[in-house]
């Protein structure tokens, strides 16, 4: 009863697990604090200097008792450890196959959200109730942290590295979004709102091109990526059988042999690096002729290009303009472990 009342605001699949652990830790803390404080108060009164109570047979050590306490506390600690390890490993691990991937870019001092279908939002995130969502996060500049207290979910947003977290929104409403990692002057204003809607309302919102957001409807990430691909002339080398650069169809999640002797799996992180710093990722049989794009493209554009390159993969579903290939169930499974 008490518990339900205290934690009535849980708004994600992860929040009840947090609440359980928080409740038990609080119970343990109250128990041990009360135990220690009452022993101190009882001893302080019983054995105050003015008291004439019997002080015979004082004890100065008790090895058995010490080891009993050490053992007991270790067992309690290990118990809480194991219990709390699993939900953590779950949300930072691979999402369910039907999870919607949404991309989050942190930059001083705003949040940019990219939905695969092209809807973009700033400092706002709209989600449908009850559908698993995986956030893929990266920073354009310094370390930020994506924090929604109502979901009990937090994930650092790190430059140069994709991180991820997934959960299911379980409550309709508007919830605060904070940046939790200090990031400079306007850190405390790097905030926004997460809106969880009924699936029907969300579909309407999506169809209207995210009209509740500022960004308005844009082309899907795959299409935007394709446009960038054409704009930068990538096709002149990466086109079919030019011989100058590897073809990009079937690249995604394939094994790549590099001229430096190493092999890599062409996951999101690899493709990002290969676009931004190509000279460090030259496949065997090719010359290091690709221009460096790290000062040319922002993280959002890189995500668009990766979405397009994924769509070229034959193992993926046929490319669909309305629905980026990246959220197909096939790639969802393959994505296992590629982000951390």
């Amino acid at each position: 009863m008490l518990k339900n009342h205290l934690f009535a605001n849980a708004a994600s699949s992860f929040a009840p697990k947090f609440d359980d652990i928080f409740f038990v830790l609080t119970a343990l803390s109250v128990f041990f604090t009360v135990l220690v404080l009452s022993l101190i108060v009882i001893f302080a009164i019983r054995y105050r200097v003015a008291s004439t109570i019997d002080r015979g047979k004082p004890i100065t050590h008790n090895t058995k008792l010490e080891f009993t306490i050490i053992g007991f506390l270790s067992v309690v600690g290990l118990g809480v450890f194991f219990w709390s390890a699993k939900p953590y490993a779950t949300i930072y691990g691979a999402p369910p196959a039907n999870a919607q991937k949404i991309y989050v870019i942190g930059k001083q001092w705003m949040w940019e959200i990219q939905h695969p279908d092209g809807i973009r939002e700033n400092d706002a995130l709209h989600l449908p109730l009850g559908r698993p969502v995986q956030l893929i996060l990266i920073s354009q500049d310094v370390v930020h942290s994506f924090f929604v207290p109502a979901f009990k979910v937090k994930r650092d947003v790190v430059p140069g590295m994709y991180t991820s977290v997934w959960f299911v929104p379980t409550k309709i409403g508007r919830f605060r979004l904070f940046c939790a990692q200090y990031c400079g002057a306007f850190h405390s204003q790097m905030t926004g709102w997460v809106t969880v809607m009924k699936p029907k309302d969300f579909a309407a919102w999506e169809a209207a091109g995210g009209s509740f957001s500022e960004g308005g409807h844009e082309t899907s990430m795959v299409q935007t990526g394709k446009a960038l691909f054409n704009k930068y002339g990538c096709v002149s080398c990466h086109g079919v059988s030019t011989g100058m650069a590897p073809s990009l169809s079937n690249l995604y999640m394939s094994k790549v042999h590099l001229t430096n002797g190493s092999t890599a799996i062409a996951d999101d992180a690899y493709i990002r690096e290969a676009i931004l710093n190509p000279t460090a990722h030259v496949p065997v049989g090719y010359q290091p002729i690709m221009p460096v794009f790290k000062d040319e493209l922002n993280e959002g554009q890189v995500l668009d290009l990766i979405a397009y390159i994924k769509s070229l993969s034959a193992t993926g579903l046929p490319q669909s303009p309305a629905n980026g290939a990246s959220n197909s169930s096939g790639t969802g499974l393959k994505a296992k472990g590629k982000t951390r």
Partner: protein, 560 residues
């Protein structure tokens, strides 16, 4: 601990020479090699730094009364909490007990006439002063806004403030810690009085020894890490910034490899102080001496294996997170063992409640709460939500203020008669101890709730729903301030006006009370003592005819 003199002491000349009146020139202080004078110089220096850090805290709490505070700009607020953290951690808490009470007491407690390397000890103070001066100059000439954590690439690339100068100051002060650590380790190994075996040492000495290990092993890592930040900032070497080919998570690993053990630098010495105070005011041998001694070493060593619990949400691998979480739960055990042993010491004691005891009991209460709330942050799932919120702020203030500073204040009151030869006013001291305890809880308990509600730390402006608890916290901080201002006044007052302290006002055991007058002579011991008893032998002490020792200024003789 018992002692016999090797010979009868000779009658004292009048007026008695002490370390305080032997040479009154500025030079006799600034060039002194006497560990006691160096301790006094450290005490004055860190007290000034405490005032700076406390002033910054006051400004922070004043600003947070309003959700959109307007006393200062965002930039100034960020500099303010950075200054608070940097000053309090690097220039107050870390040197506080080791460089002041440790410096003064460890040689006397082990029956030595000074530390092993007196000149190195003086150099430690100069390095501290130079380092503190440089960092302070950086903060006053425009400030630094990175927080005390200097997270990259913000600190190494993006911040436009005086990062380099601040770091240079911390880097230099780091050598002060290293030299102090070397000095203690060598002194404790090589200069113990005859008969003073390891397991007869006062537990304060064990705690300082464990702390010195961390000084020695940890400080070089933070020095190198911060030096790398400066190199990336000035030469654009790609170390931490991904745009240059670096790795920001690497910084966090290196930083916390030192900065987590640094928490134990702050708390272990306080644990040592409490281990001295409790048996004295319970008139009883400490319970479980060996367990307290070894738990200090265990904390010092295992403290190096838990740094990753600061990085559960950072993007480090889930498996690393699990290992660090597991070890973090286990490192709570030695601390819990200490709490159990202190409490058990009171059982069947003869307890009185002078100010040092009030501080020690306050320490146990606040440290217990600080330690238990640490378990929330060691728990992977709970930390995902609580990380970087006010819950963390409250937790580490319970450890560092409720724990470390309560211990420091307890030690200051306990040894003040020995250090200065004057008694502080007991009634005022008791009032101050109680004010500190309640003011502290009033300030920081609301922050646990704020953190649970989701208020992130280092927020200048915050949503209005957090205002009530912030106001409570700020009122508490005002109360807490009195808990520090009152002792500052009566300590200074007591230097001239306080009643003269007897040699052993607490009838405490230990060479500093049994063998050395208050204040001690420059070379501590006329004749080096021989130790024949274990530590905290209060049964013996209370059985002595002259156990009041109080009346005697020379004391410590004729106990057969």
């Amino acid at each position: 601990m018992s002692v016999t003199q090797m010979e009868n002491t000779t009658p004292e000349p009048h007026p008695r020479k002490t370390y305080l009146n032997e040479g009154n020139t500025i030079g006799s202080w600034l060039l002194t090699k006497d560990h006691k004078r160096i301790a006094i110089m450290f005490l004055i220096s860190i007290s000034l730094m405490f005032i700076v850090g406390g002033w910054a805290a006051t400004m922070i709490r004043a600003e947070l009364v309003e959700p959109q505070g307007h006393l200062m700009s965002h930039e100034t607020y960020n500099k303010m909490f950075s200054m608070h953290g940097i000053v309090m951690i690097f220039f107050f808490l870390i040197p506080s007990i080791p460089a002041v009470l440790g410096n003064f007491m460890v040689p006397i407690m082990i029956g030595a006439r000074d530390l092993a390397f007196p000149r190195l000890n003086l150099i430690s103070w100069y390095l501290y002063i130079i380092g503190a001066g440089i960092s302070l100059a950086a903060m006053l000439s425009g400030g630094v806004d990175t927080g005390w954590t200097f997270y990259t690439p913000y600190s190494s690339v993006y911040s436009n403030t005086h990062v380099t100068m601040t770091i240079v100051g911390i880097f230099i002060a780091g050598f002060s810690s290293i030299f102090t650590g070397i000095n203690f380790i060598v002194t404790i190994h090589k200069m113990r009085a005859p008969g003073l075996t390891w397991f007869r040492l006062p537990l304060f000495v064990w705690a300082i020894y464990a702390t010195s290990i961390i000084f020695l092993l940890g400080t070089p890592v933070i020095a190198i890490t911060l030096a790398l930040v400066v190199l990336e900032r000035t030469l654009h070497l790609g170390i931490f910034n991904p745009a240059y080919g670096g790795d920001p998570i690497l910084f966090q690993n290196l930083f916390w490899f030192y900065s987590h053990p640094a928490v134990y630098i702050m708390i272990l010495p306080s644990m040592g102080v409490v281990s001295e105070i409790i048996p004295c005011f319970a008139r009883k041998k400490i319970f479980g001496y060996n367990f307290i001694a070894f738990s200090s070493l265990a904390i010092a060593l295992f403290g190096f294996l838990v740094w990753g619990h600061h990085m559960f949400v950072s993007g480090q691998s889930v498996y690393s997170g699990m290992i660090f979480s597991l070890l973090s739960f286990l490192i709570a055990v030695p601390s819990a063992v200490k709490v159990f042993n202190w409490t058990a010491t009171m059982y069947k004691g003869r307890i009185s409640f002078d100010a040092p005891m009030l501080y020690a009991l306050g320490f146990i209460g606040l440290f217990t709460m600080g330690g238990l709330t640490g378990l929330y942050l060691a728990s992977l799932t709970a930390d995902v939500d609580l990380h970087d919120t006010y819950f963390v702020v409250a937790h580490f203030h319970y450890i560092m203020v409720g724990g470390a500073i309560m211990g420091f204040m307890g030690g200051m009151h306990f040894w003040w008669p020995k250090i200065t030869g004057r008694m502080y006013p007991e009634r005022w001291a008791k009032i101050a101890a109680v004010i500190t305890f309640f003011g502290f809880n009033f300030t920081f308990f609301p922050q646990f709730i704020l953190g649970y509600m989701g208020m992130p730390r280092r927020y200048h402006w915050y949503p209005p729903e957090f205002q009530t608890l912030n106001i409570l916290s700020s009122i508490g901080a005002a109360v807490l301030a009195f808990g520090y201002i009152i002792p500052a006044i009566y300590f200074i007052w007591s230097l001239k006006k306080g009643p003269k302290a007897p040699q052993n006002p607490w009838r405490a055991t230990g060479l500093e009370w049994e063998e050395v007058p208050s204040p001690p002579p420059t070379h501590n011991f006329a004749r080096l003592p021989i130790v024949e008893r274990e530590a905290y032998d209060y049964e013996w002490m209370d059985g002595r005819d002259d156990s009041l020792g109080a009346a005697s200024v020379t004391g410590g003789k004729g106990d057969g």
